[in-house]
Symmetry: C2
Subunit: 456 residues, 2 copies
Amino acid sequence: MKILALSAGLMAAATTAFAQQDSLMFRKISDEVLLNGTCYDQLRVLCKTVGHRLAGSPGAEKAVKWGEKAMKESGADKVWLQPVNVPQWIRGKESLELKMGSSYKSVPTLSLGNSEGTGGRPLEAEIIMVNSFDEYKKLSDKAVKDKIVFFNYRFRQDFVNSFEGYGDAVAYRWNSPNVAAKRGAAGVIIRSMSTGIDDFPHTGSMHYEDSVTVKLPEMAIGNITADELEAACKKGKVLARMKSECHMNPKLVPSYNVIGEIKGSEQPERIITIGGHLDSWDVGEGAHDDGAGCVQAIEVIRTLKAIGYKPKYTIRAVLFMNEENGNKGGHAYADSAIAKKENHLVAFESDAGGFSPRGIGLEMSDAQKAHIRKYKDLFMPYNVYDFDHEEGGVDISPLKYKYKVPLAGLLPDSQRYFDYHHTANDVFEVVNHRELKLGAVTMAQFVYLVCEHGLE
Amino acid sequence: MKILALSAGLMAAATTAFAQQDSLMFRKISDEVLLNGTCYDQLRVLCKTVGHRLAGSPGAEKAVKWGEKAMKESGADKVWLQPVNVPQWIRGKESLELKMGSSYKSVPTLSLGNSEGTGGRPLEAEIIMVNSFDEYKKLSDKAVKDKIVFFNYRFRQDFVNSFEGYGDAVAYRWNSPNVAAKRGAAGVIIRSMSTGIDDFPHTGSMHYEDSVTVKLPEMAIGNITADELEAACKKGKVLARMKSECHMNPKLVPSYNVIGEIKGSEQPERIITIGGHLDSWDVGEGAHDDGAGCVQAIEVIRTLKAIGYKPKYTIRAVLFMNEENGNKGGHAYADSAIAKKENHLVAFESDAGGFSPRGIGLEMSDAQKAHIRKYKDLFMPYNVYDFDHEEGGVDISPLKYKYKVPLAGLLPDSQRYFDYHHTANDVFEVVNHRELKLGAVTMAQFVYLVCEHGLE
């Protein structure tokens, strides 16, 4: 019993010593980012000199150059571009006019990404409004035929985590043109996936099912216009005139993932990937989505270098291309890892906005989750407490389902994200410097933790 | 053993049933606020039709009328005004010019609250810069005499909780004119207590010690101007020309706390106070500080009524007057409670901004803290997890130190607060509707919890 007691005592002492060292390093990381961090300035440059950057656009090309430069400035040992062919969707001109009274009125609108427009010609039809797919199913075919269907589904504000609201609503954006085409509708208007109490329309990706032969145009309107349209539809007949030039280039075009790494000091063959996506939608500046994740990943590299930490494993920051409408960058990265038989320990993405971090999503085995959760207390002084959600990120998801790599995802406060998401209002000014930096702190601390204590 | 086991089983079942009922009520509160809450609209009205409202100003008078009306609209059983005499500080015109090169340049500035100005006459003197009180102490008396002392203390961005940074820096605002007067200085300029990376000067209260016979003027400058001035001072001689009319009315003037209550259904003599402060500084719109707390307290009343909850105890929402520069409202409320021998169970203040809630500060006995913490899990689905800080609020503090009432304080995310605090930029537009509402949810849930399960 005495020996056992002693062992326990020694173990406790050792644990405490470890914990103290970890705690000091966590603080060192935090101080470095909060006092000397460059991610906020990097984000300003990305937003203000590049701006929005849809895959395949001139903006994306500029963004790749920006990313390469920023990665080099971070002090990465090696920086390279990984080729990836991406879809090229082009918005062109667009307009939506609604006749809710005696005359047509132009309203703010955005065509949904990947959709085909009206070929630049006016498409005029009567609107039929439904509040849900259930309501839609109850309509007669005749009621739908040749109409523009207005899917007036409201983003549920009662979800405390706004991502749940998004998950609940997003099918209306993604799938409405398919269900409408099947019954001979002429076009689709949707209420934006938006928590905003404003009139910004939110774009985002949709898709056409292979079985659908007619590619209907789909346009989003903001909440204020949607309220107005809802009221008008309840009162009587409303006409809409859609006009849009958007189309998908039938060919993929060349682009790149931007990659920078710190070579591991002991086991360089083992790789920890951190990242965000470099592309954005073609409005606003892609500040929260996902300029934030990109500059945070770069900040992790800069910070580890600045504090003189030599990670045991290779740390690789990846700015993925084409998360928004194809995820070709995520696939290219995973495919390359598989082809080269790379040894990936874990991948950690930040793609939920540059807001105050609250937790780290863990998409990994129960044993790995349990292992990470043992270190929860280290994160508490940084207000990071939530390790109970299963969340990775879109870009890193192919690493998991193709290559079984465990994933982690930054979980920032979600309240404001869907006010800005995919809108012209997702600009540098709506990102707070301290919130953005704290996200980078969490990522760097996680990387340190895995380097020191592994994943299980 | 069998009986014991059975008892334990029954107890567990009872606990579970209680917890389920609590959990449902927590959800009901949250749904009501998130879906039907009026606090954001109320805040818009307060900010845009009243605006800033320093105690003793015409704005404060309008705010009292607004508060009375809003409280009545909330459905409170009874609404009244509690008289309170408040100080009246008047800013008047002010300007600060700095000669950092060949000529004077006007810079953004705000005199500190309660300070006496230059009587509207220019005060011109050389600047002597110090980075801290320690540096100041090392100066010779001669170096300080007749100079304008620039206290260039930086808000420490390395604190993760920005209120710690504020606590660390605030003495420079509060006390600098006293230490400077003692050595014959002519005036004081301070770097604002600000996390902002902008040029907004931050006002806030200062005081003159009784022992100090000369009341020096004190002006704050924003971080960008402070950086510029710091660089200029390092290079050579800098002159400043202060001009300000600010002064304190030697007499107190009449004003009010606004109070509304729901009468308790079982023990109406026991009172739970919730509140924020109605006054603000005389710039911006006092949106986060503390319009947010006021509309959240009113929202709690509205919500409990709307869901048909009949609280056992009396719930009293108080919009306190004069938190910013005297706390006369807080004292008047406590004094009245004592005079009437009221039975106060607990008081809960929201005065840390309308940001996403993270916790509830508990300034009460260990037994009471332990009791509240038993219900932590109920708050987790609302992302409220922090019950480890000892925090109440300035307005309710006299209830504690004069009358031993336990206190609680809303703990929102602190990252953005000191970007806006006491500036012209603390306006309605920088408050997010969902964050504001969630703060009200937390307050209402706490009130429900104490009504159902007491405080110990």
